[in-house]
């Protein structure tokens, strides 16, 4: 009882331990804090590994084909269903996902909790038709023939 | 002689109370109450007793300074008291009958639903 009493009375003359938080600046999180997800779509290769390892399945991927044959790929992280386990970041071979130290994940609308990124995946070159192949082959043969002719002319 | 009276009424009252306190049977309790009653009646009568007095039955003209009679008031009181005692006994007995009907026993230590 007495130690508590002296401690309590002593506290009266000591500065309080309270942080000034809502006023002033937001304190920094701990060094390895896993906060808001940051997604770098530019380096993403759309391997889908992150979605495979996510326990709460918080990612959603939409693939939207573009007229020119490219694909617009959107990867959306719903932070309200994320456990911040950092599994996705660990598995991402291209380091496209990282967990920042921004812990201020507060919002009034569902949109406030979405982190999404979009990148365009170039369409692979179109397939050759047999005529084209024949043509190409012909070209190649023609080239070969021309080359052989040139050698012959030299030799 | 009057001392004997007092002794007897003391004994009667004591016996009656003993009976009421120790006997578990309702009828015996009733008997105890009766004994106490008799003891008290005897006490009242003894109180009005004058050794050698006559019965207090007079015309008002016969009453003189020398007439020596026992006190009439205690006798009247005793009569009243006897009547009351009879009523008590009747009431107790009727209650005992009803109690036996309801509880199926005459033991006072089994008739204790109201307690605590």
């Amino acid at each position: 009882m007495i130690p508590y009493l002296t401690k309590a009375l002593g506290n009266l003359f000591r500065a309080p331990a309270t942080e000034k938080f809502p006023k002033g600046e937001t304190p920094k999180a701990a060094p390895s804090y896993r906060g808001r997800i940051i997604y770098h779509p530019e380096s993403c290769i759309n391997c889908g590994l992150c979605m495979r390892v996510c326990a709460p399945q918080c990612m959603e991927r939409t693939i939207e084909p573009l007229p020119n044959g490219d694909q617009k790929i959107t990867l959306t992280f719903d932070l309200t269903s994320c456990t911040f386990c950092s599994m996705c970041a660990d598995f991402c071979s291209r380091h496209s996902i990282e967990l920042s130290d921004d812990y201020m994940i507060v919002g009034t609308k569902p949109e406030d909790f979405l982190v999404s990124g979009t990148f365009i995946k170039k369409a692979p070159p179109p397939k050759l038709t047999p005529e084209q192949i024949a043509e190409l082959k012909a070209k190649a043969e023609a080239a070969k023939a021309a080359k052989a002719a040139a050698e012959k002319a030299d030799g | 002689m009057i001392f004997t009276n007092y002794l007897v009424c003391f004994v009667l009252i004591a016996l009656g109370i003993y009976c009421m306190v120790t006997k578990k049977n309702l009828f015996k309790i009733c008997v105890g109450m009766g004994l106490v009653d008799y003891g008290v009646n005897l006490l009242i009568v003894s109180v009005g007793f004058h050794a050698g007095g006559t019965a207090p039955i007079f015309n008002i003209s016969e009453l003189t300074r020398d007439s020596f009679f026992v006190d009439p008031i205690p006798q009247a009181l005793t009569l009243t008291s006897i009547v009351i005692g009879a009523c008590t006994t009747a009431m107790t007995l009727s209650l005992i009958i009803m109690l036996y009907k309801q509880y199926g026993t005459l033991e006072s230590d089994q008739i204790r639903r109201l307690r605590g």
Binding site: M1, L5, L9, L12, P16, A17, T18 | -
Partner: protein, 320 residues
């Protein structure tokens, strides 16, 4: 006409409603601030009780289905009114408005009415939590009433030895006696009683170590479990004003002789003393102690506190 105006002034402003409410809320704010500081916190602003009360007034009042509407709403009003009336009987040292010959009994009973109104309100709300809360409130009441009564008798005897009846329950007489013979706090035979009274104050108010009735984590605010909106606010206000009333009562009973003769100055002294008392009797135990259990409160008050008061009473009775 002037007497009527004065009556209205007394009831409305000083030492009645306005003064009580302002000082009470100030004390409550201070108490919260001090407790916070002792717990190494910043604590709420000094005006926090004001905000709380005003906020409660802006909320919806829900009357539960099992509640008895009239009583449920009347109980806080009645309790508050009884408390203000009790405050009117407590003289601000020499400035006594309605001192009669037996104020102490009146105050004792009016304070009981305050507690009872809370209990009746809780009972009328029909909630089982409130049921538990009211039983605890009642146990607390039984607990502090014995030492309170003993203190009252000791003071009454001490100040009333010379009078024809040998005792007095008039606070005015007690104050006058102290002005003539020195404050009761400094009579050594009264020190145990003063200590006991210091213990009575927090329990009467229901402050933290003794807030068994309103244990918010345990029985959901207990007596106030079903109250919402203005009635709840009024109960909280009553609680704050009670802090002032009890402190003032202590001042008058044990420090009654320090009147300066000026009502305003007296009032200021009273407020300062109340602040000190609030700190000593409420803030410090709040910061230091954990909550008592129900039966511990009862035991503590009927043994330790009542014992202290009894010692005083016996000493006074022996003429010491």
């Amino acid at each position: 006409m002037t007497t009527l105006l004065w009556t209205i002034f007394h009831v409305l402003v000083f030492p009645g409603l306005l003064f009580c409410v302002v000082v009470g809320l100030l004390l409550a704010g201070l108490d919260r601030k001090l407790v916070a500081r002792m717990q190494n916190r910043v604590g709420p602003p000094l005006l926090q009780p004001w905000y709380d009360f005003l906020k409660c007034c802006g909320k919806e009042t829900i009357i539960p289905r099992h509640a008895r509407r009239g009583l449920f709403l009347a109980a806080p009003v009645l309790g508050f009114a009884a408390l203000i009336t009790a405050a009117l009987f407590i003289p601000v040292f020499s400035y006594s408005v309605y001192s009669t010959s037996a104020d102490l009994v009146v105050i004792l009973y009016l304070l009981t009415v305050v507690g009872v109104s809370m209990i009746v309100g809780a009972a009328a709300s029909g909630s089982p939590f409130a049921g538990v809360g009211l039983s605890r409130e009642m146990v607390a009441m039984i607990s502090y009433e014995l030492p309170f009564v003993l203190v009252m008798l000791a003071v009454g005897r001490m100040a009333g030895v010379g009078t024809p009846l040998g005792v007095t329950f008039s606070l005015q007489a007690i104050v006058d006696w102290q002005a003539a013979n020195g404050n009761l706090l400094f009579h050594w035979s009264m020190i145990p009683a003063a200590l006991a009274m210091l213990f009575v104050i927090p329990c009467e108010i229901g402050m933290h170590p003794f807030d068994i009735a309103e244990a918010e984590t345990e029985i959901c605010e207990g007596t106030l479990a079903e109250y919402s909106g203005p009635p709840a606010g009024l109960f909280r206000l009553t609680h704050c004003v009670k802090m002032y009333v009890m402190c003032a009562l202590f001042c008058v009973l044990f420090l009654g002789g320090i009147s300066t003769g000026y009502a305003a100055l007296d009032a200021l002294v009273m407020v300062v003393l109340s602040v000190v008392l609030t700190f000593v009797t409420m803030s410090v135990p709040h910061a230091v102690c954990a909550r008592f259990k129900v039966e511990q409160v009862f035991k503590f008050y009927w043994t330790v506190v009542a014992g202290l008061a009894l010692i005083s009473l016996i000493l006074v009775w022996l003429g010491l």
